[in-house]
C-alpha cells in the first residue's frame, strides 16, 4: 500500500519549454479515443461544444415551427394548419425557444469558457457537468416524442389552468410538458450549482472577486437565481400533474383550490427566468465588446452591480404578468413601480457599452457588427417593455401582437444577437480556425434586416388589435399587409442564420488558422493554445488585474503571470482557492472520465417515461436503478482523496 498524501507544497515553475510536463498532463486529462471516450468524457470543452450544438439544433426546430406558423399567417383565411395544429406549434415553439434553446446556448458558452476565463482546468464537478448535459439532451428528446404521437403540448408556454386541467385538455399533451419541464429543471438547477462552486472556488490565485471577468458575473448571478427560482416551476408542474391524475385540488376552485396559484408559482419562476436567459448574453457582450474596441470595459464595477441588481429586481416583478387578473390596487402600483425601476440598471449597462465604443478604437469585425446591432435592438425591446410596465397600457396591449413583438425584441435582440456575436468572437478559440468575415457580414445584414422587417410591424398589428395565438384572421381586419411583411422578414432572418451555419461548416475545414490570441484580447482563455489542450493550462496562472494579458499595454507593470505558477502533476489535479481573495486553499483531485453520468441520466429518462405511462412497477425499477447508480457514483475513493485509513 502506498503512503496516502494528505498535503503537499506544490512546485512553482514556468510552463514554456517543458514538453515532458505537457505529455504527462495529457496522459491524465485526455479522453480515450473511440466510442468509450466519446460517451464517457467529462472535459468541459467537449461538453460546452455539445451544449452549443444541441441548443442550436433546438433553435432550428423552434425556427421551423415558427416559419410554418408564418406561412399560415402570411395571408388571411389560410388552411395550411388546423387550429389544433396551430396551438401545438406555437406552444412547442415557445417552450423550445425559452427552455431548450435560450438558456442552454448560454450554458454552453459558459461551460466552455468559465474554466478558461478563471484559469483552472475544468468545472468544479466534472461528472455533474456531463450529467447535466445528458439530462438536457434527453429531456428535449422526451418533449419532442410528443409530436410523434400527435399530442404536443397545446396550452401555450405558460400553460394556465383551467385550460391545462384534465377536464379541458384530457390527452397526454400537457403531461409531456409537465414531465419534460421537471426533467430539464434537474439539469438547469444542478448546472447552476456547478457554476456557483466553480466561480467561487476555482479561480486562479490573485483573481479576487473584484477582478472576476465580467462574463463570470453574469453566469454567477443567474446561477444563483436558477437555484432559487426553478423549484417554483417544477413544483407547479408537479402539483398540476397531481391534479390531473390523482384527484388533488390545488388549482380547482370547486373544492377550495386556487387557479391563480398556478400563475403565482409560474411567474415566481417565469419572470426571473426572463432575466436568466438574457443576463449571461449581456455579460458576454460586456466581455467581448471591449476587445473589439481595444480598451477595457468602461464602468466595470457599475456593470457588475447592475447585473446583480437586475436579477434581484427580477424577483420582484413577477406580478406584472398578472396586471389583468384583478389584483389589489396597492399591489398593482408597487409592482408597476418595480417594473419601471428595473429599467435603470439596464440603462447603466447600455451607457457603459456606448462609452466603451465611444472612447475605444473599434475594429469593425463581424462580432462588432452583431454587438452594435444588439445594442440597437436592446433599446427598442427595452422601450416596449417599459411601456407595458405601466398598468393602463398593459391592460390595453395584453394578449395582442404588441406583446409578441416585445417578446421577440427581447429574446432575439438580447439573446440571439449577443450569441451570434459571441460565436464569431470565440469560435477561433474553440476550433483553432477563424470564421469568414465576408460571409459573416452578409449573414449579419440578413439577420438584422430580416429581424426588424419581421418583428417591427408586429407592434403595429398589435396596436391595431390583432390578438396573439390566433390561427388565422379575416381580410376585413386590415392586418393582411402587415402580416405578409412579417412573414417575409421571418424568412430573411432564417436565411441569415443559415449563412452563419454554412460559414461554420466551411471554416471548420478551410478557415484561416487562428493562433492562440487572434483578437489580441485580454483574458486568460487567450493565453493558451486554440483549441486549448485537455488540461487547459500547463501551470496554474497567477492573476494581478482584470486584464491579465494587457497590463503592459495599459501602462502598468506586468504583474500577472499566465505562464508561471503551480505545477500540479501528481494525477488529475487543479487548484481550489478562497472565495473572495482567491488565495490558494486546496489541491483538488479531479475525477476521470466515466459512463456513470450517462447511465444515471438514462435511468432518469426511464423514470419520467414510466411516470408518463403510469407503469408503476417499471417506475419502481427505475428508482432502484437510480439508487444503485448514485451509490456507485458517490462511493468514496482514495484516488479522489476522499478517504483515509486502510482500504482493501
Amino acid at each position: 500500500m502506498t503512503e496516502i498524501e494528505y498535503d503537499r507544497v506544490p512546485k512553482v515553475a514556468e510552463a514554456s519549454g517543458r514538453p515532458e510536463l505537457s505529455a504527462r498532463l495529457r496522459s491524465f486529462w485526455e479522453s480515450k479515443p473511440g466510442l468509450y471516450g466519446w460517451l464517457a468524457t467529462v472535459d468541459h470543452k467537449t461538453l460546452g461544444i455539445r451544449y452549443i450544438v444541441t441548443a442550436f439544433v433546438f433553435l432550428g426546430l423552434g425556427g421551423i415551427e415558427a416559419l410554418i406558423m408564418r406561412i399560415q399567417l402570411a395571408q388571411p383565411n389560410e388552411h395550411v394548419l388546423t387550429p389544433e395544429e396551430y396551438n401545438q406549434l406555437f406552444t412547442m415553439h415557445g417552450i423550445t425557444m425559452i427552455l431548450w434553446y435560450a438558456l442552454p446556448i448560454l450554458t454552453g458558452f459558459s461551460v466552455y469558457l468559465q474554466p478558461l476565463l478563471l484559469g483552472c482546468r475544468d468545472m468544479a464537478l466534472p461528472r455533474l457537468n456531463a450529467f447535466t448535459y445528458w439530462v438536457f439532451l434527453f429531456s428535449g428528446i422526451f418533449l419532442y416524442t410528443s409530436f410523434l404521437i400527435g399530442a404536443a403540448p397545446d396550452a401555450g408556454w405558460f400553460n394556465y389552468v383551467p385550460l391545462a386541467s384534465i377536464e379541458q385538455d384530457p390527452g397526454p399533451n400537457i403531461d409531456f410538458y409537465a414531465m419534460a419541464n421537471i426533467f430539464l429543471g434537474i439539469s438547469t438547477t444542478l448546472g447552476g450549482v456547478n457554476f456557483i462552486v466553480t466561480i467561487l472556488r476555482f479561480r486562479a490565485p490573485g483573481m479576487s472577486i473584484n477582478r472576476l471577468p465580467i462574463m463570470s458575473w453574469g453566469t454567477l448571478t443567474i446561477s444563483v437565481a436558477s437555484v432559487l427560482s426553478i423549484p417554483a416551476v417544477s413544483l407547479a408542474f408537479f402539483l398540476l400533474w397531481m391534479d390531473r391524475h390523482f384527484g388533488t385540488h390545488f388549482f380547482d376552485p370547486a373544492t377550495g383550490g386556487q387557479p391563480l396559484l398556478w400563475q403565482h408559482l409560474f411567474w415566481l419562476w417565469g419572470h426571473p427566468w426572463v432575466y436568466i436567459i438574457v443576463l449571461p448574453a449581456l455579460s458576454m457582450v460586456s466581455q467581448a465588446l471591449p476587445v473589439c474596441c481595444r480598451r477595457p470595459l468602461v464602468g466595470y464595477s457599475l456593470v457588475a452591480l447592475a447585473t446583480v441588481l437586475t436579477m434581484v429586481l427580477g424577483f420582484g416583478v413577477w406580478l406584472h404578468h398578472m396586471f389583468a387578473t384583478g389584483l389589489p390596487t396597492m399591489a398593482l402600483a408597487f409592482f408597476s413601480a418595480v417594473s419601471l425601476v428595473i429599467a435603470i440598471p439596464s440603462a447603466v449597462s447600455l451607457f457603459a457599452w456606448l462609452a466603451t465604443i465611444w472612447t475605444g478604437r473599434p475594429d469593425f469585425t463581424t462580432a462588432f457588427y452583431f454587438f452594435a446591432g444588439f445594442i440597437i435592438v436592446f433599446v427598442i425591446g427595452g422601450v416596449s417593455g417599459f411601456m407595458t410596465a405601466s398598468v393602463p397600457v398593459d391592460w390595453q396591449l395584453t394578449d395582442t401582437y404588441f406583446v409578441v413583438a416585445h417578446i421577440h425584441y427581447v429574446l432575439i435582440g438580447w439573446n440571439l444577437f449577443a450569441v451570434l456575436g459571441a460565436l464569431y468572437h470565440w469560435f477561433p478559440k474553440m476550433s483553432g480556425r477563424m470564421l469568414d468575415e465576408t460571409l459573416g457580414k452578409i449573414s449579419f445584414w440578413f439577420v438584422f434586416i430580416g429581424f426588424n422587417v419581421g418583428f417591427f410591424p408586429m407592434h403595429i398589428s398589435g396596436l391595431l388589435g390583432m390578438p396573439r395565438r390566433i390561427y388565422t384572421y379575416s381580410p376585413e381586419m386590415g392586418w393582411s399587409t402587415l402580416n405578409l411583411i412579417t412573414s417575409i422578414g421571418s424568412f430573411v432572418l432564417a436565411i441569415g442564420l443559415l449563412i452563419t451555419l454554412v460559414n461554420v461548416v466551411r471554416s471548420l475545414r478551410v478557415g484561416r488558422i487562428a493562433g492562440p490570441n487572434p483578437w489580441d484580447a485580454d483574458t486568460l482563455e487567450w493565453s493558451t493554445s486554440s483549441p486549448p489542450p485537455p488540461y487547459n493550462f500547463a501551470v496554474i496562472p497567477t492573476v494581478a488585474s482584470r486584464s491579465p494579458l494587457w497590463e503592459a499595454r495599459l501602462g502598468e507593470p506586468q504583474r500577472s503571470q499566465p505562464e508561471r505558477g503551480f505545477v500540479l502533476d501528481h494525477g488529475k489535479e487543479t487548484l481550489g482557492t478562497t472565495m473572495l481573495d482567491a488565495v490558494p486553499d486546496v489541491i483538488v483531485k479531479m475525477p476521470e472520465d466515466s459512463l456513470v453520468p450517462l447511465l444515471l441520466s438514462l435511468a432518469l429518462a426511464a423514470l419520467f417515461t414510466t411516470m408518463m405511462l403510469e407503469a408503476w412497477w417499471w417506475l419502481a425499477a427505475s428508482a432502484i436503478a437510480i439508487l444503485v447508480i448514485t451509490v456507485a457514483w458517490l462511493w468514496p475513493r482514495q484516488s479522489l482523496g476522499e478517504i483515509e485509513g486502510s482500504t482493501p
Binding site: I4, E5, S208, I230, H249, Q258, V586, G641, T647
Partner: protein, 203 residues
Amino acid sequence: MSLVEEVQPRRLPVGSVGHHATGWWAMLCGIVTEGALFGYLLFSYYYSAMQPHTELWPPELPHLSLALPNTIVLLVSSGAIWFGERGAKRGNASEELLGTAAAIILGIIFVTVQFFEWHNKPFSIQSSAYGSLYFTITGFHMAHVMVGLLILLAILIWCWRGYFGPHRHAYVSIAAIYWHFIDIVWLAVFFTIYVTPYLTGRS
C-alpha cells in the same frame, strides 16, 4: 495583503478535506435550492389559506399528541449526527458509529410515527384543497427524510469500513449538514401546519 504578487509555495491540503471539499460547497447550494422548494410549498399553503373558501380551513384543529413528541425525536437525531461527526473528526470510530446509528434509529422512529399520524387523519389527499396541501407538504418532507436515511445508511457502512478520520471526513460533514437541514425544514412545516391554526383560529 490579499493581492497575490507572486505565488508562494506553501503547504496545501490535498483532496476532499472538510470545508475545503468541493462536495461541501455543492451541498450548501443544494440546500439553498431545496430550501426554496419548501418555501414555495409553504407559500402555496399560506396563499390558499388566505383566499376565501367554502369549507373550514383546516377541517379540524391538528392534534399535537403525536406530532410534538415526534418533532423532538427529530431534533434529538440532529444532536446524534453531530456527535457522530465529532467522532469522525477526532478519529474516534466508536463515537462515529454510535452517533450515526442513533440518528438512523431516531429517523426511522420519526417516519413510523408520521405514518400513524397520516393514518389518523379524517381527510385524504383527494377530499379538499387542505387535504391535498397537507399530504403533499408532509409527503415532500417525508421523502426528504427517507433520502436522508439512505445517505446516513451509506455513511454508516463507510464509517464501519474505516473510510473516515481526522484528515478526511468531508462525507460525514456533508451528510450531517443535510440531516440538520431536513430537521430545520420540519420545524417550518410543523409551525405552518400544526401551530398557525392555534394562533389564527379556523376560518
